[in-house]
């Protein structure tokens, strides 16, 4: 096991809207080693983005952390004051957002947006910051970087914008990069370029990453470990290599079944029936129970915390055996497990 970089413990996040309070993240814990990449998958609205934003304290208006710790390099980020938190943001932890169109300031040269971090954290002069921005732009593969420095986001393609975003996040050589669905908004071919760029940058800088996505294919390409999130809770955790071929939670199995696989011809995707429960007033028992094909009576009551099963793996399902058997019987997932 590598050195521990980040440890999230029993994190809880609430999001207050006009009339109701959404429990967006409930009692989530996980660890991340230095140089490692963790993938967090789950459906839209499961709380994975809130989890990521809570780490940096960038929750949207109405959001607040109600419990837990985020221990980064031995310090609980949640206990920091504003100034200390700003020192971490951008300097030690960078972040990439889903929509490069809206995540960049439309009225500011992209180069200046990149240079802001180094100027704020590394004591760069304006000129040095610009120099650094041009270097970064070249590093993230933006051709003609010197000229593009003065471009506005609206003058760049989606892929170029995301490269700018990456340059911003990596500008101060942080130890951790938080990626919130960085490729979701991009064309498939561009997605691949961006993922390869991130892998390449990780190799050269050794940065750790948390990769929030709903795409298991991306996870298998990018990540060493995987956390599956359902209805504000973690339901499965483990190494990608062990979880994907051998899921121990029915929701993970459902996600795997919904993945198109072009190697093995599969006539139809199997979407998970039903919809996730409301997070305003979540039901008792296992939250996946109403949609679960293996649900038993004992799933209806009690708490379902992550249970550690074997080395580095955990699942909240109390009927894991049923799930594993079903996975093994599946021609696609089973064949993967056989590899």
């Amino acid at each position: 096991m590598t050195d521990l970089l980040l440890s999230v413990k029993n994190l809880r996040v609430e999001l207050a809207t006009h009339r109701e309070v959404v429990h967006a993240v409930e009692d989530v814990s996980f660890d991340l080693g230095a140089g490692q990449t963790l993938g967090i998958v789950g459906e839209s609205g499961c709380g994975k983005s809130m989890l990521l934003r809570a780490i940096l304290g960038l929750l949207p208006r109405g959001g607040r952390v109600t419990g837990g710790q985020v221990i980064f390099q031995g310090t609980d980020l949640l206990s920091l004051n504003n100034q200390q938190r700003r020192d971490v943001r951008g300097r030690s932890i960078g972040m990439i957002f889903q929509e490069p169109m809206t995540a960049l300031n439309p009225v500011m040269h992209v180069g200046d947006q990149i240079a802001e971090g180094p100027i704020a954290h590394l004591g760069y002069t304006k000129k040095a910051g610009r120099q650094r921005a041009v270097e970064l732009m070249q590093q993230v593969g933006i051709p003609d970087a010197r000229r593009r420095f003065r471009a506005y986001p609206s003058e760049l393609s989606g892929g170029m914008r995301q490269r700018v975003m990456i340059a911003i996040a990596l500008a101060c050589e942080p130890q951790l990069l938080l990626c919130d669905e960085p490729t979701t908004a991009l064309d498939v071919t561009i997605q691949d370029q961006i993922l390869k760029l991130l892998l390449h940058l990780q190799e050269s800088t050794g940065v750790s990453m948390i990769f929030v996505t709903h795409d298991l294919a991306v996870v298998s390409q990018m990540c060493q470990s995987l956390a599956v999130m359902y209805a504000a809770e973690l339901v499965e955790f483990g190494l990608v290599a062990s979880v994907l071929p051998d899921p121990t939670h029915p929701y993970t199995l459902g996600l795997l079944r919904a993945v198109p696989d072009f190697d093995k011809v599969k006539a139809m995707l199997d979407p998970i029936p039903g919809i996730p429960p409301s997070l305003v007033d979540p039901p008792e028992g296992c939250r996946f129970r109403p949609r679960c094909e293996f649900a038993q009576e004992d799933c209806a009551t009690g708490d379902f915390p992550l249970q550690f099963t074997e080395e580095g793996r955990a699942s909240s399902c109390i009927h894991q055996v049923l799930c594993r058997n079903a996975a093994h019987a599946d021609p696609v997932i089973g064949s993967r497990a056989a590899h």
Binding site: L58, R85, R86, G94, M95, A103, P106, A120, S154
Partner: protein, 313 residues
Amino acid sequence: MTRGMYIRRRLLLMLPTAFGVTLVTFLMIHLIPGDPAVTMLGVRATPKAVAALHREWGLNKPLYEQYWLFLTRVVRGNFGVSLFYNSSATGIILSASLVSLSLIVYAVVLSVVIAVPLAVLAATHRNGISDQAVRAIPLIGMGMPSAWIAIMLILLMGLKFHLFPVAGLQPGVLGHLDSLFLPGLTLSLGIAPLLVRSLRSSLIDAFDADYVTTARSKGIHEYRVLIRHAIRNALASSLNILGLQIAFLISGTLVVETVFALPGVGALMVNSIYRRDFPVVQGVTFVLALAVILTNLGTDVVHSLLDPRVRFE
């Protein structure tokens, strides 16, 4: 289209508009009764004297000829001779325009100075007491006539505390700044409420925008997030409101100019209409039309400078 080409084209397009406005004014003022010769000569003027004055002024010529004369003069930057003051209309209009221009610039600067901090206060304390206050108080201000505000300001800041001159225009740059403060403030109190409301909602939009989250994720100071990211975007979207307000001010400074005894275009226009001082009326109309058009153009250009997404078509 580049910005330069766009500006050139707009400038060319504005000439027909400005002349159109002067043509309408020209016809209107000549078609209503009233004779400038009576203004000059008094009621006892003999018909002979009136006719002589008409000849001297060219008022005996057909209307189309008079308008043509006006056009050919304007092209050379000459508005003719004021019938009332018997001196260059261009000079009279120019000096009045300078007063009004300074007044409007002052008002705009003051309204921005007033509106930006209030909007920031309201937007950063959304739905709090300061937000409610900032949203409610200007509404009261908007309901008050500017003449009343002007007199209240004079009573308070001119008479009670002797901070500023009560009225009139003091000579020199400092004198102008001093004596235009209260009128500028009066006008700005008329614009600021709309500007505050518009800026506040743009700022709230900006604060919720992804790019502000991005900016915060960089760990830069909140102050810089506000200034460089939020306000600049909010200003870009509130600029059109400001532009409309300025255009409105250009034609609406009369009341303030009257109360503060400022020799601006508003007073000049009204007086000249009453005196049937045709060259001045036409000249002022032309200048006002140009000013409104230039303000719109300026708003567009500044908007494009603030927001690179604006395209010229």
